[in-house]
Assembly symmetry: C2
Homo-oligomer: 298 residues x 2
């Protein structure tokens, strides 16, 4: 299996990044990933106060996918995620939903074993290994890997996990896919700004849909499709996700705008991905019973 080691870290999604590897459609690839802090905290090499912020939020890649061209859809099928047996969670003053309160900088290393996070002596909680950052290069700008957008990026969506598929619009030749920032566990909203940040490996396989692309990344899970959008506020992110979902419902069922808008109110669930970064992320989820992937593609 082709392996991309974790010395290939990008800190921006950019059309000018040089490929770390080139792969074919259908080929399995293994990405070795660094944790959100570039391993500085888990190794004890640095503290939160002395953190080198230039080494934060790296993603492994980019990978050049043969045959992917602007206007296509890149399918990234997540086959497996494996994490290290230790992760780190932090509180950072001024950060998160309660950032206006006064509190301390704290970094906590936790053990992960057999699918369980040992939070303290008494409290155990199940893991749900997921990919925090996943995306492709945008058309012409550089976007920090800590941010998100139509190209994907720091989506922080807990269903981006083994067994899921992501559909990205392709903006440049080869797509330039990258992923990283594994979370052993995260709740919707990521309220304190950190999850169980962990190093690990992602096994992924790519597919292509030629000459059609979605407006926003689409997530496919067992039962649902979700539009993953972002905005300056959750409300704005919701508007974008609803626009894409209602348009897809009109196409799928040959409905008027009004009919699709009504049905959306019954069947499109608006859910929070994260609300603690400058750009807020939501997903608009709908059962596969009512929509097919095609209807999301322009």
């Amino acid at each position: 299996v082709k392996t991309v080691p974790k010395n290939n870290l990008i800190y921006t999604f950019s059309p000018s990044n040089k490929p770390a590897e080139t792969v074919q459609i259908g080929e399995r690839v293994l990405l070795q990933t660094e944790d959100a802090f570039g391993g500085q905290l888990s190794s004890g090499q640095r503290t939160l106060e002395s953190l080198d912020w230039a080494k934060v939020d790296g993603a492994t890649g980019p990978i050049y996918i043969q045959g992917a061209s602007p206007g296509d859809t890149l399918i990234a099928e997540i086959l497996d995620i494996r994490t290290a047996e230790e992760g780190v969670i932090v509180t950072v003053p001024k950060q998160g939903l309660l950032g206006k309160r006064r509190f301390k900088s704290l970094s906590k290393v936790v053990r992960l074993k057999n699918g369980i996070v040992q939070f303290d002596d008494e409290v155990l909680i199940k893991t749900n290994p997921m990919i925090g950052t996943i995306g492709v290069a945008p058309k012409s700008t550089e976007i920090p890997s800590s941010s998100l957008g139509r190209h994907g990026g720091n989506l922080d969506t807990k269903q981006v996990t083994a067994g899921s598929k992501m559909y990205f619009p392709v903006f440049v030749e080869g797509a330039l896919f990258a992923a990283g920032d594994l979370h052993a566990l995260q709740a919707d909203g990521e309220l304190c700004v950190s999850s169980v940040e962990v190093t690990g490996e992602i096994s992924v396989k790519f597919g292509l849909i030629k000459n059609q692309m979605p407006k926003w990344p689409i997530l496919e899970t067992e039962d649902e499709y979700s539009v993953l959008s972002c905005g300056r506020s959750l409300e704005e992110a919701c508007q974008f996700a609803v626009e894409a979902s209602v348009t897809a419902l009109m196409r799928e069922h040959h409905w008027s705008f009004e009919q699709a808008y009504m049905f959306g109110s019954l069947a499109v669930n608006l859910r929070i991905n994260q609300v603690v970064d400058p750009k807020k992320g939501v997903r608009a989820a709908i059962s596969k019973e009512f929509i097919s992937l095609d209807s999301y593609l322009d």
Copy 2:
């Protein structure tokens, strides 16, 4: 069974509303409820254009609960919800998440039978009968029944359904409980501003916790407790819900703020109730594995 007929409609939650009925703790009560449009659309009596808006968003009540005093917690156990066999959905120009688009006023009557909404000839979708508006009188102000707050109100939370329990802070003698605005079905966010609005009956039983009250209404479902908060934006609503949830985690586990804040990021799921009214509503849900009701009470 004591029955409160639907000619007892309130349009504000207010300490000065006269009780429609008085009940004891543990007694079953049946509330007959009007739909969100006061039956004007389903009866064909009015169109959206000629709607009498003074008859919109009524709740049945209020009910005076013997023994409930300011500072207590009122438990409302929802035993059963029954709906009529016909409901109505609307699109209202300028309303909902895509209110900036130009579209028509449309009102659509749908059949409900055997737990299925017949949306059109081809599309059927399962019902999930829920209570849109439920709450108690606030301390001193009048709050329109179309709005929401610490007293409850138009919460539009799809888990407020048969089998769930709601815990409300009591602000006035007798609590003055009211409920209405049944939805046969609603997705998280209620994106177009309307659900399947329907008349029906709510069977409810009350309990009391003396001398302790939650900051916001608490919802208990089979597996989770949720804080139901609201704010001028979803972000502000999230802040309030997180403040209450993190405080509860500190109490439950004798954790520092920092530990509870971290754990919240792993276990407290922020979810959208509705994003289409002037006040936005969210819920912060956490597994009962990690919290008990007591920890939410001051």
